[in-house]
Amino acid sequence: MKKVFLKELRMNVKVLLIWGLAVGGLGMACILLYDSMQGDMKQMADAFSNMGAFSDAFGMSTLSIATLKGYFATEVGTVHGLGSGMFAAILAIGILSREEEGHTGEFLLSLPITRSKTVAVKGAVVVFLLFLFTVFCGIFYAAGSAILGEQLPAREFLVFMSRQLLMNLEIAGICFAISSLSGKNRTGAGIGITLLFYIFDLTGRVVPDLKDYLYLGPYSYANASEIFSGAGTPANALIIAIAVMICGAAFAFFCYNRRDLAA
């Protein structure tokens, strides 16, 4: 199993680096831009905080984008949330189905490794890569604020990155289950699911009637503005996230063990 794990890591390391550099680098660039925008930020912060529901949706009513904390939460929070969600989806939705689509499934599964072990190893690779991705981006963001000579509040920053990791794992859990269903890579569906969750969260924050259902989506508990403004822990959303993750993994085991594999 160790050899399969290492091979999977090697095969996905390029994707990790590309996405890590793109998302982490973009986030860092945003942080570095803060310095040059600081002069105009005061007026912008006032304008953005008075846009009603939209200010609420992007957290600008509770946090001032004139501070690094507020700027990070509104700008980098969005970049990281969307970027990491897409990375999680793309990674997980292809990890099982890729073997059949690339016709390598017969080679892998003719080796003495059960389907359950294959699912376990590939699931572990997804979790490990998402963890590495989070650390990678976290280092970029910390480096960006260090270059500015400012510091993000450590506790909130760690909570934000941890919740983002959980959100990535939840999306990955859903996509991992889809990956076990057929031998076709459904990258488009993965990106679509991520965008759907993001739009659901955004809409829920703008439309008052939907607010009570926000906890159903993974972006609810990973919202940077709420975390950096010190909102309480959304326990129900976190429980749902863990349940979805477990169900996704269990479904993948169940389905992959019972279906015919394409040649």
């Binding site: 050899k3 399969v4 091979k7 095969m11 690339g102 016709h103 390598t104 499934g105 017969e106 080679f107 599964l109 003719s110 080796l111 003495p112 490794i113 059960t114 389907r115 019972r258 279906r259 015919d260 594999l261 040649a263």
Partner: protein
Amino acid sequence: MAYAIEIDHLTKSYGKNRGVVDVSLKVKEGDIFGFLGPNGAGKSTTIRSMLGFLKFKEGSIRIMGMDSVRDHEKILANVGYMPSEAWFYGTMRVSDVIRYAADVRGLDCTAEAEKLCDRLRVDKNKKIRELSLGNRKKVSIVCAMQHRPKLFIFDEPTGGLDPLMQKNFFDLVYEYVREGATCLLSTHVLPEVNKYCRNAAIMREGRLTMLESPDIDDETFLRFYEEDL
């Protein structure tokens, strides 16, 4: 008499489509068994059911005395399989693929792999994506043989191989069989069965017919392709 393969009333369908119907087959240990039949006859379905790629509800399969479902992992440790389409991870080098196959088995097959690569003239430094079908097949042969399995399952192994490599391949099969291995050879090529196999069966429209002898003439062979059984 011990059997390497025992298939008992195997029926496998794909939804409403026929796969194989009531297939029963026994292959003795030490045999080179020819498995003939037209495209879509059910040869690959039978093989893929044996290896656990396909799930079946009717019938049973025993490989080397072990149940193909319950003892799946143990069976695969003792089987060398070569699929008809030899696909590997395109970005890996040939040497990495061969070593990876051995590593997953938890074996050091360096010496055997070297021997096989020499005999089959495999360029180990090339990337998989740079290889032709014939060269991918040669890599597949090395992966199937390097751990010296008790049972070989070859699905159309010689397609894409030049005549010299075809001869080298069968020489290797003979060497391993002389040492006690068994070989199931699925093929379209009648001369291969006539020349190398000791027993044979032919599949048509999902049903299997045992041949009294693998030495059948072209006319009889082609009748299986053209007429109803």
